[in-house]
Amino acid sequence: MPGNGEQYDVRSCFSMVSIETTANTNLLKLMESTIQFRDATYSVNRNPPLTVVSGILLDVHAGETLVLLGRSGSGKTTLLKLINRLLEPQSGAVIVQGRPTTEWDPISLRRRIGYVIQEGGLFPHFTVAENIALVPTLDKWDPPRTVARVQELLNLVGLDPKQFADRRPYQLSGGQRQRVGVARALAADPPILLMDEPFGALDPVTRSEIQREFSELAQRLGKTIVFVTHDLREARRLATRIVLLQGGHIVASAPPQDFLNIDHPEVRAFAASLDPLPNAPPSAPEVPGARV
């Protein structure tokens, strides 16, 4: 079925939706939803130990969309997993809302942090509504509140609840699955959203549609978002700040408009990837140690 929930007017879709936050609570969330990496190091327990990320010093400010950019194996996903304690740093600390992750109960920490992965990671045996209701169900919301929230979220991501609530993930297109993934992550209104190459599996047209909608959504909701990608174009489209990783270290950090002015070989390598023409200026040389 082409077009079901795929094409629609972004403005009309979002303007009808009421967001479940008032200015006051938004402000409160802004103040508490920061993430700080304090000299965090994570290595895989091998012989000899393989350091994946080290000496990470990074503040994620409340309400910003921070994009972690880097090649495969540069440590982007590891940083994401350190935030919701899927991994723990060997040294240094990762502080979420004022407390090191190691002092958080991992379950309650994760329920405050939305998480979206490629293809959404939806449960195939759940309907769309059940997938979205996952965290509310785990947190034992009463059913009417959960149902209302699912409706609200489906509208928010541009899917008609009547049409989609009872479908199963295999009955959705890639773009629709991704929307459901975003809705599920937002279900319990978490202040922080982690996204691991969420749009990577989509075709280019759907991808740019979703990117546009998502950046509007991000601005409206005021969430703190950490977004992982290897696509500079996507980073520039969504980020309020781009942080470039190379070999487990942060090598550059700048707002998208200034990012390409940074004088660093890895930045130039990424800049070269933007230009599809064969007679483009010669790309920066491959940097040793870029791949872990």
Binding site: L86, Y115, I117, G121, P124, H125, L134
Partner: protein, 210 residues
Amino acid sequence: MNRWQFFVTHRADILQATATHLSLVAISMLIAIAIAIPLGMFIVQRPALRSIALGVASIFQTIPSLALFGFLIPIPFIGGIGTRTAIVALVLYAILPILRNTYVGLTGIDPAILQAAEAMGMTSNQILWRVRLPLALSVILAGIRTATVITIGVATIAAAIGAGGLGTFIFRGVAMVSDAVILAGAIPAALLAIMADALLALLERHLKVT
């Protein structure tokens, strides 16, 4: 004697033996399922026990069935002559396919789904019951199906230790060198196996998550 005449004249006995056979299989399968599925769920969370459990279950599978019945007879409480011993042996045979499929089904889940579950703040018990188990159901059922077909066959040998069932005709027919009597046991047993297989296959397809 005409081959089929025996069926007609002894149809009450054959039906009776089929019923005994079915109840032997049903009781053994229920016990085997009640042991193997929880055990499978248990070893998924304790990888150290995995090879022990699967290894022990495999050993039972390698013992020839007639020998296993023989070994069990002298054992107190579970042994002796009759139905109880037969059920113990059938259970031991049925455990491995169910246990192995339970384990494979529970561990063969798409890692992206498990990671999403963990990252959304599900506890490992919630992941086991609400994600792994429902997604493994069709694989577990495939194990139950294999075990049922095996058990229907092996249960014919239970007649050798006095548990009754369709094996009674087979052993009697072998002793009498009578095809008709052997077939009176063998054909219903084969039909039972085919029907059980088809029924469970249907259920399995129904449970499969696309």
